[in-house]
Symmetry: C2
Subunit: 304 residues, 2 copies
């Protein structure tokens, strides 16, 4: 099960009723944070999922509303007792921003591994249970979007394993995709495993214009979290100038990419009532929700 | 009149019910901010006094809970339309912290003048209406406390001015402390002005051990805002180790310095109920108040 919480839904400047955009994923007790504006750690504290197991922090870009919360959250993670390394991913050029911000949190009790995100949608992190990919977006500065896929182990065919006389103690090794040697024979996972099964895919992109490459990148996401900086379609010129998206543009991508659900986020401070413009997204993609601080969901593997 | 608002009363880490310590002074439409932890700008937005007229930001030291809000507040000040220079004051060595944090707010529409604070209590800023002094404190890193004095013009003796045949049009110049030349004579302010009158003095110090030099520095403040990191006197060893103060130690300074009123602030996140320890300060200095987010007061010149 993957737990997801949008820690904040505001864009540009924080306002009392909206934290700045930040997303938290929690899978198997490991956490991934995407963006970390000022105030993120307070929203996390209210959420109550803890800080120590934040393993990866992904940044879309270096604008202040997405990054200023980093030093504070690193210090709070340190205070929670973490000592194992933490990975930070950012777009090209982000390491200088990181170095600047970290001036107030030197001497952390854990190491930070910095990885530069990919621009072509290829994996940045690829482990046995998880893939994180990133894609170049179209914003005022270098900016990337993310997709996180929780892998699902293929189905294990016990009858087949029995018929091959493979002892039960080796089954879990094969199920994890590793081969075994036994009685002079090599048994490969494909002998006892089904085809690859669909995992859980969550995609997140903000801030950008709605470029075509996004559609393929977020294709068939179980959940797409996308910016809706402006609600009113009449604000298109402003969206084009500031390199942001309208509600309707995000919904268009959700529809074309055949995602299951769309959450809109990163609302402009001037957008005091996002609900006034909900219809402009809903009429294009019906399973749209307006994000709010700490909207949550849990996604499971499908029943196949 | 000087308006004062404690924007946050938390120390170390932000918690949902307490913003990090930051103090705002508002005099004649000019604002002075002292310390600026993560979330300060949201507390300021709730307060509603505006951002454009923040002229001076003073920092006590470079610990994250006092500084991380800076880039965000500078961007919000920029967004409010400010174009006139803004002054930042910090302890020795603070400029490198400033440079680091400013990595996310380059190209501001106003200039920043950086001034290093004094360690001996002498003035850092001294204008016709205001003096800001700073004093070295005793913390884990370089740290200074501040006192802000709003000056009061001496009383103008109109009868004396009339008897000297000084035209009314020159009175305001003399009242501001400038001399005039008229009819071949020089008229100096002392001819028509009373002795210097007591202004309004507000002092702020956190984080420190209660060193003796503080007493003289904050002497006869109309309001003293001081850290009360720990309430329980039994926590003295922790206060000594972490270079912080107990409620009772802050109250002792308030009593010895003969201040009018004391606000305690910078409560440890572990101090969930400061009121449980209020008595330990109150029995030493009766006009003590426990700070809370956005506690406010207005101070006037006395009626003499």
């Amino acid at each position: 099960m993957l737990d997801i919480c949008l820690l904040g839904c505001g864009g540009s400047l924080p306002v009392p009723e909206r934290n700045l955009t930040s997303l938290l994923l929690n899978y198997n007790g490991k956490k991934i944070l995407i963006d970390c504006g000022e105030g993120t750690q307070v929203s996390m504290k209210i959420l109550g999922w803890g800080f120590k197991t934040i393993d990866i922090i992904c940044f879309t870009h270096a604008h202040a509303d997405h990054v200023i919360g980093l030093p504070g959250i690193l210090l709070t993670i340190a205070n929670s007792g973490r000592e194992t390394p933490l990975t930070i991913i950012g777009p090209p050029g982000f390491s200088s921003i990181l170095n600047g911000l970290m001036v107030v949190c030197r001497n952390l009790p854990f190491k930070i591994n910095y990885i530069e995100g990919s621009l072509d949608g290829s994996p940045v992190i690829d482990t046995s249970d998880l893939t994180i990919r990133s894609l170049e977006l179209d914003h005022l500065i270098s900016c990337i979007g993310y997709s996180v896929e929780i892998k699902r182990f293929p189905k294990f065919n016990a009858d087949k394993a029995k018929s091959l006389n493979i002892p039960v103690k080796f089954w879990s090794i094969l199920q994890k995709g590793q081969s075994i040697e036994f009685d002079g024979n090599t048994y490969t996972p494909n002998l006892v495993l089904s085809e690859q099964r669909k995992g859980i895919k969550v995609s997140y992109f903000t801030d950008t214009r709605p470029i075509d490459t996004i559609i393929d990148f977020v294709k068939e996401s179980d959940l797409l979290i996308a910016e809706g900086m402006y609600g009113d379609n009449d604000e298109l010129p402003k969206a084009v100038k500031n390199k942001h998206m309208l509600f309707s543009e995000a919904a268009n991508i959700a529809a074309k990419a055949n995602v299951r659900e769309l959450w809109l986020t990163h609302f402009s401070p001037s957008l005091t009532k996002p609900e006034d413009y909900f219809q402009s997204a809903h009429e294009i993609f019906s399973n749209t929700k307006l994000g709010f601080d700490r909207i949550k969901t849990s996604l499971n593997f499908s029943n196949d």
